[in-house]
Point group: C2
Chain length 131, copies 2
């Protein structure tokens, strides 16, 4: 069980690094390479609100995110919690949304299967204006 | 370290039971008894948006929540993740907000100190209409 938890944490941390890189730069390939083909994600609001299924949908979504935040988002990681299958990252982010100052608090929950992320849930902790 | 993690999980689970009871019934005393005097919490939106400090502020907040959801909220717990100090509960809730159907996805992150909760961060995973 401890070994499973260690693998889960290692895989999720690697994916989170690529996620952070994607948000900062708009380069998502490394993150997308870590998603299973049947990857699904839940997003809290907007055009991608609700359950989104499949890796292609994820590719579209992350491209869309990087169009919204052209200058990239900078993350400050506050907490990491985990169990055998799932790792939650709590962080604050900052950047510009269509040119306007943007700040938020986020929790993302990555579910790990083998050496990949098979699903993810995102949660908003603030309003896009303060964190 | 394993012992610390076990205590953290036990305390957080007990607090979450009382939290769930408070949301269902409007009776918050058991939950409030588990908060440190210097308890603080972050809430994502509305009147209590941002950082709220002190146990009295928490008492006000939870009474306000139970006025908004008079019939109570029913929770479905999906995931629990933890480390030495912090436990994250991901759940879906359902009820009526000022008489209108309400559904959401929530992540709450409880920080444990000794046998009490010293702070908490709440995150919204949906829009209040679907989960």
């Amino acid at each position: 069980m401890a070994q499973e938890s260690n693998n889960t944490l290692t895989v999720a941390h690697q994916a989170f690094e690529h996620f952070q890189h994607g948000l900062a730069t708009g380069e998502w390939n490394q993150f997308l390479d870590m998603l299973t083909e049947d990857f699904s994600f839940w997003f809290p609001a907007g055009k991608y609100h609700g359950l989104n299924q499949g890796k292609e949908r994820a590719r579209e979504f992350f491209q869309y995110v990087s169009e919204c935040f052209k200058g990239g988002l900078t993350l400050t990681l506050d907490q990491v919690t985990s169990n055998e299958t799932t790792v939650v990252f709590e962080f604050r982010d900052e950047g510009a949304l269509f040119g306007e100052p943007y700040k938020n608090r986020i929790a993302v929950s990555f579910d790990v299967r083998g050496n990949k992320i098979c699903s993810y849930r995102e949660y908003f902790g603030s309003d896009g204006k303060s964190n």
